[in-house]
């Protein structure tokens, strides 16, 4: 099993004729994903590696069933593209685009909620269920993706797209495959937070443990810690907190748009405290993660 995407998951790419999107299409197809169509306004009738291009999302959804969309258009057009996907009834929308103003993002998320759709991102690399499919640029080419990701029972959620691959690569090297890995996005407001995705992993019979990569800034870690405490979640979680040096540099933005220390609760040290208080193990470096995952699963079985 996996969450969000599997072998039969069919998706489209909005902005498919862009330079990076063309590469992404190729990578997803090579990996075995079902990219069924793409959208670039004014380019109807063309194709990208055999994937037909349309002018609008509705032109596609009127003639075939679509489970999801990857939005990879320039920031100025992203608001419109996501609205279009929501309006066409698409249920899972991965927003790759960075630098979308947060007022627009917040509005899109509220609208998606009303229409029963889920947004992943913005500013993310997408989702992969290793061996089944990937939705977005996560992992890169099929060959590179297969080097870093293997199928297995560890779920991964990360604010950093690159670190999703780094962590999965480390897990794979230690013989720990992944059920689904999600690059959730580095923006201050994102469609799906750790705590919002955790129930999906909990409900997945294949996922036995979870790895979470986080950074200073924002309340998402404390939301996760609170969720785990309040629900007595039994899924073992191992976290890694990058950017501890930022605690001494308030008001400075590093890494991602959402990565800024504005008050005590944004600091790495405070987040680590909250996560540990909720029973989540926090790794000191990436290489420790596999062993922490293994022992957390063992302890969980005994408990």
């Amino acid at each position: 099993m996996s969450i969000l995407i599997d072998r039969d998951f069919k998706f489209i790419i909005q902005g498919i004729t862009g330079r990076e999107a063309v590469n992404m299409t190729r990578e997803c197809l090579d990996y075995g994903s079902q990219v069924v169509a793409g959208v670039t306004p004014g380019r109807k009738g063309r194709d990208v590696y055999g994937v037909p291009v349309f002018d609008t999302v509705k032109q596609i959804t009127e003639q075939m069933s679509v489970d999801g969309s990857v939005v990879t258009v320039p920031a100025a057009f992203a608001y419109d593209a996501v609205l279009e996907a929501i309006d066409a009834g698409i249920q899972l929308i991965v927003v790759v685009t960075e630098r979308i103003p947060r007022a627009d993002v917040a509005q899109l998320i509220e609208l998606a909620r009303m229409r029963g759709a889920r947004i992943i991102g913005p500013n993310c690399l997408g989702i992969i269920s290793p061996g089944k499919g990937k939705m977005g640029g996560i992992g890169g080419t099929a060959i590179d993706t297969k080097k870093a990701y293997a199928s297995g029972y560890v779920g991964v959620m990360s604010r950093s797209g690159g670190m999703t691959t780094e962590i999965c690569n480390t897990l794979t090297a230690y013989g720990l495959g992944q059920s689904t890995a999600i690059s959730i996005g580095g923006d201050p407001i994102i469609g799906s937070t750790y705590a919002e995705l955790l129930p999906l992993f909990e409900a997945d019979p294949e996922t036995k443990a979870l790895v979470v990569y986080s950074e200073p800034g924002g309340p998402m870690d404390s939301q996760l810690a609170e969720y785990v405490k309040n629900t007595n979640s039994s899924l073992p979680i191992v976290a890694f907190m990058a950017g501890r040096f930022m605690d001494e540099m308030p008001g400075m933005r590093f890494g991602h748009a959402g990565t800024i220390v504005e008050g005590k609760r944004d600091t790495a040290i405070e987040k680590i405290r909250l996560l540990e208080e909720a029973g989540i193990k926090v790794a000191e470096n990436i290489s420790e993660i596999p062993n922490l995952v293994k022992s957390a699963i063992k302890a969980n079985r005994k408990g």
Binding site: A106, L111, G139, G140, S160, G162, T165, M220, F254
Partner: protein, 401 residues
């Protein structure tokens, strides 16, 4: 983008929100002159981007123009968290009978704006929330539904206010929410909002943050307030080195090679991507290394950007060696990074084998990249060596020198 207080006040004033009579000065004589025009006691406020001005001595009161001049020359030379004032704001000193707090910001969990109102203004709002929660009211705004006066009245009256206080506060809060929305602000805060003995309200201090992502669509306002749209305003103004890093990143629109932050160590870091840079910077510090800089590379930058960024870091005074490290890359190409970095090192007259302490970028196009590195004798490692271990090796090499 954080606004200086005087800019934030100009914004409030433009939209009919009450601010004290005042002017901006650059020198102590200007302060003396403004103080004379105001006739009466004044307050002189250091214009810096960080908080804690009062405690640091960056705000002083004066009864006469000559006192104001003396106070001004002290503040002009006073660093607050490493920043000298951009200017001084001189305002008429105002006596209040009561102080309020009004703020609008985003709640990342609710994913919508949140309004905070307190009848205990003048102190830190987190302190009010923790110590006097009964004096803090909050409400979320829909991102889709319109905001109207009744919502403002509900939150203000929830703390027991009524009569003309309620009506005046409502009018101010509605204007503040309108500003927040119209100008893509991420924070609009008036603290304190002072009540005079006449019942009038005045914004004694305020904070405004505009989203960096939105400055390009808010140029009209930024121009009107004479704020340079491209100026980077974080917890402190950017250094020359950091400004040059931004110039490198804007050479072409392909990928990212910049976001440089200056430190004073001897290990030049050519690192990426966002999360990888954070992880690596921590690792360098944990192993006792002194970084000369922070930076970010990602999203498949051009050879030229990798080249210019490397050159910038290489030429920073005090840099002994550079460490070139990233997490396993998916779209940034290892060969492009290798070419850009090596060309910069060679052009600056160094031997890549000696100057590059370690090269750890595995992933996309790695076999092509590793060939180039081998040719120049650069010490490189593949994905079997962790970020942490690569950082350790870099630190040891620089120490051994």
């Amino acid at each position: 983008m954080r606004f200086y207080e005087h800019e934030a006040k100009s914004l409030l004033k433009l939209h009919g929100l009450p601010v004290p009579e005042g002017k901006v000065a650059k020198t102590d004589s200007e302060v003396e002159e403004i103080s004379r025009e105001i006739t009466g006691p004044v307050v002189i406020k250091s214009q810096v981007l960080s908080g804690g001005r009062m405690k640091a001595g960056g705000i002083k009161f004066a009864d006469t123009p000559s006192e104001a001049k003396v106070a001004a020359s002290t503040i002009l030379g006073l660093q607050i968290r490493g920043q000298l004032p951009q200017s001084l704001l001189v305002e008429r000193k105002i006596a209040t009978v009561n102080e309020y707090y009004l703020g609008v910001t985003y709640d990342a969990i609710a994913k919508s704006p949140i309004i905070l109102f307190s009848d205990m203004g003048g102190i830190d709002i987190e302190e009010v929330a923790n110590t006097y929660p009964q004096h803090l009211a909050r409400t979320h705004l829909s991102n889709i539904e319109p905001f109207s006066d009744y919502k403002a009245k509900e939150i203000i009256s929830s703390l027991g206010l009524t009569g003309s206080d309620l009506m005046k506060l409502t009018s101010i809060l509605v204007k503040l929410v309108t500003l927040f929305r119209r100008y893509d602000l991420t924070l609009a805060e008036i603290n304190p909002l002072g009540k005079l003995s006449t019942g009038e309200l005045v914004s004694l201090d305020c904070h405004v943050d505009m989203e960096d992502e939105s400055t390009s669509r808010q140029l009209a306002l930024l121009n009107e307030l004479s704020i340079p749209a491209t100026e980077v305003r974080q917890g402190r103004p950017a250094t020359d080195f950091e400004v040059r890093g931004m110039e490198v990143d804007s050479i072409d629109p392909r990928g990212v090679a910049g976001r440089v932050v200056e430190f004073d160590g001897n290990i030049g870091l050519v690192i990426g991507a966002g999360g990888g840079s954070l992880t690596l910077f921590d690792a360098i510090r944990n192993h006792g290394g002194q970084a000369a800089n922070y930076c970010e590379i990602g999203g498949n930058p051009s050879v030229r950007k990798a080249y210019e960024l490397t050159k910038l870091i290489l030429n920073k005074p005090g840099v002994a060696k550079i460490a070139v490290m990233m997490n396993v890359v998916s779209n940034t190409r290892v060969d492009i990074m290798a070419r850009g970095v090596i060309k910069a090192v060679v052009d600056e007259g160094h031997d890549p084998a000696e100057k590059i302490a370690i090269f750890r970028i595995p992933g996309s196009w790695e076999s092509e990249g590793f060939k180039i590195l081998t040719k120049y004798g650069v010490d490189f490692v593949d994905r079997s060596v962790s970020l942490d271990e690569a950082a350790l090796r870099a630190v040891n090499k620089v120490k051994a020198k």
